[in-house]
Symmetry: C2
Subunit: 364 residues, 2 copies
């Protein structure tokens, strides 16, 4: 499986699309805004005002309302700072990055309305916000040397560059799980360290001195990956696949050969890589819990079927292209029906919560 | 009709797509390469070598093999110059521009193979070619001030920003035609002058001093738009629509209210606008004839049916979204079947030839 070919969210804006099922990521994104705002303030401060053309890149922008919601908020933050300082608003170049298979067309179709709204809100000044697409892996170079002032990424850099090698004995698991052999945790962690190191190195080459990077990623709240529900989302999906093995609909060997190229680090693991790599100083690192259904945080058991549907849609929008590539498109409806049932069972006794980290970095 | 919403080539890479039916434009593009090469040489010369990051924008890049064919050729030209001068190859930032509805996804899917081929050919140096998409109208600002070194556009800037106002009496014509009233020619010309002036002004703001712009556009070989076959391609399409009026399949009023936002200028008209607008010097302007079927320039009458099919496909790939928006998708197959027959009739006695201009401009 070539990760770059199959790692993309569900396209378009239909019922199963990421665009229609990304409010978990939207909520996480909003949680990072105070940190983002602080970073933008610091850039203006450290560079003695904004550069004439403020260059911002969003890594793993995907396709949906969150993509331009971020851009609108960054522009708002800069306008506010300029208004406080009585300084001129810069021209914006916003580079939206994602893999080659990402549905950029859908993002572009929402741009005319976005520009119109910005102009209404900000006046003609905002004719000088230019939004571009940068297709390619963020584990490769994306920009010329020292050309970007602010990197941002929300729920993207936890995707690994590839499925780690050496997971043959992870058997009926598809990610780190309570029943995974020890080497599985080590192998995943090693791949994360390698990928995250590369990400930091490449971005530091592309960033001007004094530039900043804000990363929001799903994470574990404790060091031990077996001790809590860091990975329950994928354990329930593995369970659903195993159900289908029992029904003769999926071959066991297909599960044995499938693992998700994904990693939820503990915060110390993140700190270690940043320090080891050395291009960036860690300005701040904050963790927060994030409910699977951010708009529905009370655990009202009577709502369980609806909550199962919503969570299954959320996960399906993220992982379907990769699952369909490996297991076949035809079983997807049934697989996510079963998944929905497992989610309901889980939520009957436990909260559906993930943890996230917001990491604020500054280039030396 | 909002031009920006319906002006795009047929998407995807199927049988009716622009990607599969754009070798006429590809041939015209190749004819401009010597002029492009000269311009790139002059940039290197005038700027005392290439800038560290060479910023190139292609206006109206569309979606198909020509898009990246151009990029590959520009990179080749720069590599050759650097090799002759024994100087370092710059990093490339290539900005592909087209309207919001353009099929950028298809361009992006061909990028991995493009990058692989470039790396094989040029070595790892070419990891430093970055291709981006810039969605938006080139009649609006697309880039920050003084940020681009080379603008290029092939078969795009003859598309007007809108259907000119005041064409009510153009009746059963859909573009300038031999039977058009005089005001139609004036109205079209005026819109072209307005749009082309704006294009020059905006690009001059976005271009560094000493930057260059190469435009290739379809044109007329003589000043009088009634005196030759400048517009025959659209006259045959109008004829096909009129056939369908007679058969009760199209309402006459629908043709009366439709005109194509397109202009084929005579070279003096182009010179006049450039001089009037004043931001650029005209370095060179060359006209050349271009056969509708560039790979089949002999008029072998026995091939006529095939030539009719090919020409109809070529035109359909370009104009179908706009026609379907106005006349309805359901009549498209029949319309282009009739068009194919009119093309065959035309080619039985005449050559299928258009004229093109390659314009080389330098910013003061």
């Amino acid at each position: 499986m070539l990760t770059e070919k199959v790692l993309h969210m569900n396209t378009g804006n239909g019922d199963s699309s990421y665009a229609s099922n990304s409010n978990l990521q939207g909520t996480g994104l909003q949680r990072s805004f105070p940190v983002l705002n602080e970073a933008i303030n610091k850039i203006a401060n450290d560079l003695n005002g904004f550069p004439r053309s403020f260059k911002i890149a969003d890594l793993g922008c995907s396709s949906g309302p969150n993509t331009l919601f971020l851009v609108a908020n960054i522009i708002d933050m800069v306008h506010d700072i300029c208004s406080e300082n009585n300084s001129q608003v810069p021209q914006f170049q916003v580079f939206l990055n994602d893999l080659f298979e990402n549905d950029f067309n859908t993002v572009f179709r929402s741009l005319p309305a976005f520009y119109t709204k910005m102009r209404e809100k900000k006046g003609d000044d905002c004719g000088s916000c230019f939004v571009y697409a940068v297709p390619g892996s963020f584990y490769g170079r994306l920009f010329p040397n020292e050309s970007i002032h602010l990197f941002h990424s929300s729920y993207a850099v936890h995707w690994l560059s590839r499925v780690p090698q050496g997971l043959e004995n992870n058997k009926l698991n598809i990610y780190m799980a309570k029943t995974s052999p020890t080497n599985v945790f080590k192998t995943y962690r090693k791949q994360f360290e390698k990928d995250f190191t590369k990400l930091l190195l490449l971005r530091s080459q592309e960033m001007i001195s004094g530039g900043r990077m804000i990363l929001t990623i799903p994470s574990r709240s404790v060091a031990d990956p077996t001790s809590e529900d860091c990975c329950i989302i994928w354990e329930l999906l593995a369970k659903s696949l195993v159900d289908m093995v029992k029904e003769g609909l999926v071959q066991e060997s297909k599960i044995n050969s499938f693992n998700i190229p994904y990693y939820t680090p503990y915060e110390d693991e993140v700190r270690d890589v940043i320090q080891q790599e050395g291009s960036f100083s860690l300005h701040s690192l904050n963790g927060f819990p994030l409910h699977w259904e951010p708009y529905n945080t009370d655990t009202n058991v009577s709502d369980l079927p609806v909550r199962g549907i919503n969570t299954a849609k959320l996960i399906r929008a993220v992982i379907e292209p990769m699952m369909a590539n490996h297991f076949g498109k035809s079983i997807m409806d049934l697989l996510f029906k079963k998944y929905q049932e497992h989610v309901v069972d889980h939520l009957a006794t436990k909260k559906g919560v993930n943890y996230s980290l917001v990491i604020s970095l500054v280039k030396h």
